[in-house]
């Protein structure tokens, strides 16, 4: 009950005219970012972050999180109308969304996509409202070993649940940790890994990495694929909207399943992209029309969109309650918290009530604003994609450079951004995952601190990580995740042997 009161207080914080205006700006910017190739939730927010330094933190996070909602909505527009996923999590939406558009049912597909995104987000926000304060209260008792075990579990889940080859996930993650270690060691004050190059003393800022890896890298990839945008016309009128809404309740089971998949993969760092694929797969297997999936089934649009939005939203739960982001975009928002002088973690719910509940309230409001904006302005946003790539590409490069520079006002950062861009392109092509790299870069210092403090507590005895059921359980689960790919290979091996024996 206390939390409900806090939530209403949050609505009071979020519902000022200035914040509402920021919400509208945020969602519109977000949709544009989601529609444009090379700009996505993570790097879009990273680029705009410096512009919010002068705002009050609550207004700033409201605007930035609304950009995120907008980007989640925007991905669906390009998938359905142009068969080009604007964001990785909307790849699965193209499977049935584009065929529907080809059959002249674009309006229906878009309405279904937006509405189910909204439903997914709403379910996730409700979950955050009730679960996040509990998790935070629980985590208040955490000491360094507990925090390290949470970090350990987070990073091992990447290996256990990632689609990429496990060793590549591991290598990418370690690269992130190594980059995070560069610069001044916070404990001893020694310079690490700079090899006499004093400009590196500040270390690698993950915002630069995000802008380079996701922004420049994505542009290079789009260029290689030789994109030519030829889309379907986008028309949504109230009649189509209401007709589609009338059909949606029929698919409540699909929606519910997708919400669960999304929330689960959002809290554990699976992220929106695997969530959308998994939800599509589950819907295809369990639907009566499963065989017809891929030919323009409404369910095939509902499932991935619901899951992607549920995952994208619930990725904020561990970020708010534990200070551990569940996705690169959540990591960027976490970086914002640090810059505004807020310490992410369980204490946030105690010390910064206005901020936390204002943000949670703005999640409700932002998604409503998002739904209204996308339903009314689709043709406008689709028109952006008709601007030729040879105009868009250089402008995005310029925007990325500005974003990289404004983080620290350092010219070196622009060069680093370019370097990260090339790395991002090569990594993407070779199936090295970028999310663990970014998260390791963000959390590296804090994971290291937690580890060192635990070691100090135990005088270097690793058994401290198994000293009580909570730490031991999480470490055990982490180890299980770490070894999970081996089980998979073992099963494969057994199956092959069986097949050979037959």
């Amino acid at each position: 009950m206390e939390d409900i009161a806090a939530l209403f207080h949050g609505f009071a914080v979020a519902l000022t005219p200035f914040n509402l205006l920021l919400m509208l700006i945020g969602v519109s910017l977000g949709v544009i970012i989601g529609v444009l190739p090379g700009l996505g939730g993570a790097n879009g927010i990273a680029i705009l972050l410096p512009l919010t330094f002068s705002m009050p933190p609550t207004s700033a996070i409201i605007m930035l999180s609304c950009i995120y909602w907008g980007a989640l909505f925007g991905g669906a527009i390009t998938s359905i109308l142009f068969n080009i996923p604007g964001e990785p999590w909307s790849v699965a939406t193209t499977f049935d969304g584009y065929p529907m558009a080809q059959q002249g049912r674009a309006g229906e597909a878009l309405t279904a996509a937006f509405t189910s995104s909204f439903v997914g987000a709403l379910v996730a926000v409700i979950m955050i409202t009730f679960l996040a304060p509990l998790v935070a209260r629980f985590a208040l008792q955490f000491g360094p070993p507990e925090f390290f075990s949470v970090y350990f579990l987070t990073f091992c889940s990447f290996i256990g649940m990632g689609k990429e080859p496990p060793f590549k996930i591991m290598a990418a993650m370690m690269l992130g940790f190594a980059l995070a270690a560069v610069g001044i060691d916070t404990v001893t004050g020694q310079l690490r890994l700079i090899f006499g190059w004093h400009e590196l003393m500040r270390g690698f800022d993950f915002l630069i990495a995000v802008i380079g890896l996701f922004g420049i890298g994505e542009i290079l990839l789009s260029m290689e694929e030789g994109l030519s945008f030829s889309g379907r016309a986008a028309k949504i009128n109230p009649k189509v909207v209401f007709e589609t809404w009338a059909k949606l309740p029929r698919y409540w089971a699909t929606s519910l399943r997708s919400c669960l998949v999304g929330c689960w993969l959002g809290i554990t760092p699976g992220g929106a992209t695997p969530a959308s694929f998994m939800a599509y797969g589950v819907a295809k297997r369990l639907s009566k029309h499963g065989a017809k999936f891929g030919t323009g089934q409404l369910e095939g649009v509902i499932a991935p969109e619901t899951a992607a939005h549920a995952a994208g939203t619930s990725a904020l739960l561990p970020m708010l309650s534990l200070g551990i982001p569940g996705s690169p975009t959540a990591a960027v928002l976490l970086g914002g918290l640090l810059i505004w002088g807020l310490q992410p973690g369980p204490l946030l719910f105690v010390e910064q009530k206005d901020f936390v509940w204002g943000l949670i309230a703005s999640m409700y409001l932002g998604n409503i604003a998002g739904l209204i904006i996308v339903l009314t302005c689709v043709p406008l946003f689709a028109a952006i994609l008709r601007v030729p790539f040879s105009i868009i590409a250089p402008i995005i490069v310029v925007i990325c450079a500005i974003g990289a520079y404004t983080v620290h006002n350092a010219m070196l950062d622009i060069w680093l951004m370019l370097l990260f861009g090339v790395a991002g392109y090569v990594f993407k092509k070779l199936a090295y995952p970028l999310a663990p790299l970014v998260l390791a870069l963000v959390l590296g210092d804090r994971a290291e601190d937690a580890f060192r403090q635990s070691m100090l507590m135990a005088q270097g005895d690793l058994r401290i990580f198994f000293s009580n059921w909570l730490v031991g359980g999480m470490m055990g689960l982490g180890l299980l995740m770490l070894l999970w790919p081996l089980f998979g290979q073992w099963r494969e091996y057994l199956r092959k042997k069986e097949a050979a024996a037959l």
Binding site: P50, L51, S54, P88, V91, P165, F167, K168, M170, A171, M174, L175, F177, A178, A181, D185, V187, T188, Q190, R192, L193, F195, I216, I219, L220, L221, M223, E224, G226, S390, I391, A393, P394, I395, V397, V398, A401, I402, Y405, T406, N409, M411, I414, L418, G421, V422, Y425, V426, F427, K428, K429, L430, A431, Y432, E448, F451, R452, M455, L456, G460
Partner: protein
Amino acid sequence: MSESPEPSHQETGGFSTRGAEIAVAIVLFALGGLVVYDSHRLGSSWGSDGPEAGYFPFYIGLIMCFASAAIIGQTLLGRGAGRDAVFVQWQPLRQVLSVLIPAALFVLGIQLVGLYVAAAIHIAAFMRWLGNYSWLKSVVLGTVVSAAAFLTFEVWFQVPLYKGAFDPLSFLGY
């Protein structure tokens, strides 16, 4: 964006995925080695007052070497991506470079003449040579975008951007 299985156009050729795979893993191995080396130099064991500065990164470096060695091993044994897959064909590579090289020149330009001038030139040149737009259109759009950025950052948000070693816009007084 899932990777589409790349068609094996033998006649067009390109970098092999195997080569790229091994090259990247070697770079990662070398970086891991560098981390191990520097952490060892700083001290990677238990000091008088607790863990030394290189304690944590030392193991990070070790794991990085281990993982990249495993990737090299898997690639050589022919597992993972198909043996003869093409990493990037020459034609798409040229397109990638047609963005990357101007972008690099643009960054160099920022270093010399500042962000605004470099941005205007970059956009105009890109449109003119890669988009085949007329000179007039290209120059106008480049200037407009650059001016809009100037107004947004210098005037409204008062976030100064890099002016370059020569600062050709110093007469504006920002």
